[in-house]
Symmetry: C2
Subunit: 141 residues, 2 copies
């Protein structure tokens, strides 16, 4: 299947495109953001680990059957080196609005590849209570 893969010049741009693709339930755009590595890893909150394109694609396809997922990535902590970027964010998920019993934390790891910055790992998990206000961090949106 021929597909156009956009090249992103920064890890931030790739991360924004990731959450945009989730909101639009755009499976092809989402999967084009991942690195061409066998070792890519995706962990949805409270779910087993998925490794490789096929398993990760199938999981998002099942999620998108219910529509897009609207997430704001907030309170980002980021460390960048020449070839990789490590982000940790609080994911504010629209369907959770009003819920204070839990929040979602995500580690997003990006690699610089010859075709731009790509996702290597997305590890999301649930934490109890409302997200603590983190005044020291920058917000993504």
């Amino acid at each position: 299947m021929p597909k156009f893969k956009q090249t992103f010049a920064t890890a931030d741009a790739t991360e924004s495109a990731f959450y945009d693709a989730l909101a639009r339930a755009d499976l092809d755009a989402l999967m084009a953001l991942w690195a061409d590595e066998d070792e890519i890893v995706c962990i949805h909150p409270g779910a087993p680990r998925l490794v490789g394109h096929a398993a990760i694609r199938a999981s998002w396809e099942a999620i998108f059957a219910h529509g897009g997922v609207h997430i704001k990535a907030l309170q980002r902590h980021a460390v960048q080196s020449t070839m990789s970027a490590i982000h940790n964010v609080v994911e504010e998920i629209s369907s959770d609005s009003g819920q204070a019993e839990r929040h979602v934390l995500a580690t997003n790891v990006f690699l610089k590849t010859p075709v731009g910055w790509r996702i290597l790992l997305h590890h999301a998990s649930v934490a109890p209570g409302a997200a603590p206000v983190d005044t020291a961090s920058a917000t993504l949106h």
Copy 2:
């Protein structure tokens, strides 16, 4: 407080030292493994995000009050670049032996620093069921 910080030549050696320090409940050895960055992140399973040395140290001190934590890091998926290493492992925790209702997944991120490989991020979370057997991956121990 003067303390001796060992220099580790590989991310694998730092990861082994991390789990060794947990088993020995050696707080100083554990904290010496983390990068000298304000942005270091530690997420214990089902717990809020901790950022920075003080918060991370306090959390492990509380855990070690109950003794060492014996973890085998198995089924590792790893991607290494010049300056960073991204590991994802299944943590087999001794106190969980016999439990098949849950397992723990951990993302460990290491940075190459002038004083060896150090931990930048540890993100652990709980997944349901027994850990699936992952024949494609290498084991750490």
